[in-house]
């Protein structure tokens, strides 16, 4: 049972990993299209009739591949190469290509990928005489795999998943401020807990899934929660004026930390968390949680899926965003500064040896 859980977790992360370049290029192009052509560009201008519209719809193409690619690589992780075709077709089915009110988005693509992966693994075990062995990967698995996943999506699981997705979307869209704050706290804690690791990616996947349904608030919170950790550590180092709590190596990483905060790469915080997990990780979690909660309180929305301060134009209110980010960063910085123990002599001397 634990094996299956690990396999599905690995599949989810693999799928998200391959999906990200589509989402990021697509999301940023869509936001750029809005910036160039105004917020009515999808309705005012015919597709591709001017440059802004071309950029917008190009972004839509890339972003639209998100769910099929997710399905394809979730399935690939479970069943290897033969999993790709059934997973991708299943993922495409999750986007409701025939307009039957069965769109199940991210969740549908994920489930289609998992189902496709296990079906293909079963199909691999079909006994075929060795003289016909090459029929298995060239004919039998693709045809039976695509057919069974497609039929399952249409007749069996597609409808229920779409209903669940719809219910979750409604729930999210109608949440009161109190609940949104709780959501922000959970999101912030997950984003900061492992700084770009599996927890962080699950939280990010949630924000992407919400974005897919047209709710851009979780993505704004995601930005704050992902950018606050490196910023917070940088602030803690700056607060340490007597140079008691951080080593010279730490101070040398200040430019990297600011770059990480600006570009939304939480990973820059990892070296600090790895060295002093018990002091650093809780500080990061509190700061990001506060930042995310503020983002919901301010009602911030973000239409680009990644890019840090370079996509501020895709926010509804860049100023309040910076407020939420700075508050989150300062909370982390202050907590870390107060709870961090002074650098011990051994640490300092160890560092000299390494240098």
């Amino acid at each position: 049972m634990k094996d299956i859980k690990n396999q599905i977790q690995e599949a989810l992360l693999t799928g998200v990993s391959y999906m990200l370049p589509f989402v990021i290029s697509g999301g940023i192009l869509i936001a750029l299209g809005f910036l160039l052509g105004g917020y009515n560009i999808p309705n005012d201008v015919a597709q591709g009739a001017n440059f802004a519209s071309t950029i917008f719809w190009l972004g839509k193409v890339a972003f639209g591949l998100m769910v099929p690619v997710l399905g394809a690589y979730v399935s690939y992780s479970i069943a290897d190469k033969p999993g790709i075709a059934p997973g991708m077709v299943g993922g495409f089915m999750a986007m409701d290509p025939w307009g039957l009110d069965m769109a199940s988005g991210f969740l549908g693509g994920l489930i289609a990928g998992i189902v496709a992966g296990y079906i293909v693994n079963l199909l691999k075990k079909i006994p075929v005489p060795s003289s016909l062995r090459s029929l298995l990967p060239t004919l039998i698995i693709p045809v039976l795999g695509v057919t069974s996943v497609g039929l399952l999506m249409h007749y069996v699981i597609g409808g229920p998943i779409a209903a669940v997705t719809g219910a979750l979307t409604n729930f999210l869209n109608n949440m009161g401020t109190g609940n949104l704050v709780i959501l922000g706290i959970i999101q912030g804690c997950m984003l900061a807990f492992d700084m770009g690791g599996p927890f962080n990616k699950v939280a990010y996947a949630f924000a992407l899934a919400a974005m897919d349904t047209g709710n851009f608030m979780p993505m704004a919170a995601n930005f704050v929660g992902s950018m606050a950790p490196p910023l917070g550590i940088a602030i803690a180092i700056l607060l340490d004026r007597n140079k008691e709590k951080f080593t010279d190596t730490d101070r040398n990483s200040l430019p990297g930390l600011f770059a990480g905060a600006a570009a939304m790469i939480t990973e820059f915080a990892i070296p600090f968390a790895a060295a002093h997990p018990l002091q650093v990780i809780p500080s990061l979690m509190v700061g990001s949680a506060v930042g995310c909660a503020l983002s919901y309180i301010f009602g911030l929305t973000m239409q680009a899926p990644h890019g840090g301060i370079f996509v501020l134009f895709a926010l509804n209110n860049a100023l309040l965003f910076l407020v939420a980010l700075l508050v989150g960063g300062f909370v982390t910085g202050a907590i870390l500064f107060f709870i961090k123990k002074p650098v011990s002599e051994t640490e300092q001397s160890l560092e000299e040896i390494v240098d």
Binding site: E10, L13, T14, I265, F268, P277
Partner: protein
């Protein structure tokens, strides 16, 4: 002792490389020969050759996402040790402790 390793993570820009560094560092400290293949956002870097995989005493998978071209390791399943990149970065010596557990 010869060690080969593969590292990978979801975004493929940080954990992948930090885990690789951590593994190289501890091998150097212990005087082991080692080569690390990184499967990051740019695809496979520093790819392991078949003879390197064959000659290795220990194969380490430090991966969050599925290993690309895993079929290369099919015949050497008993040499493989699975960890997560996060845990290797935190404490690289687990790759040797795990070996003890497996015995």
């Amino acid at each position: 002792m010869k060690i080969v390793a593969i590292t990978s993570c979801a975004t493929g820009i940080a954990h992948t490389y930090m885990a690789a560094e951590a593994i190289k560092k501890i091998c150097k400290k212990k005087g082991f020969e080692c080569k690390v293949e990184m499967q990051g956002a740019l695809g496979i870097e520093n790819m392991l050759k078949p003879n390197e995989i064959k000659e290795a005493d220990l194969i380490i998978f430090a991966n969050d996402v599925g290993i690309t071209k895993e079929e290369r390791f099919k015949e050497y399943k008993d040499k493989i040790i699975k960890v997560t990149p996060h845990s290797v970065i935190k404490d690289p010596s687990i790759i040797f402790n795990k070996k003890e557990e497996n015995k």
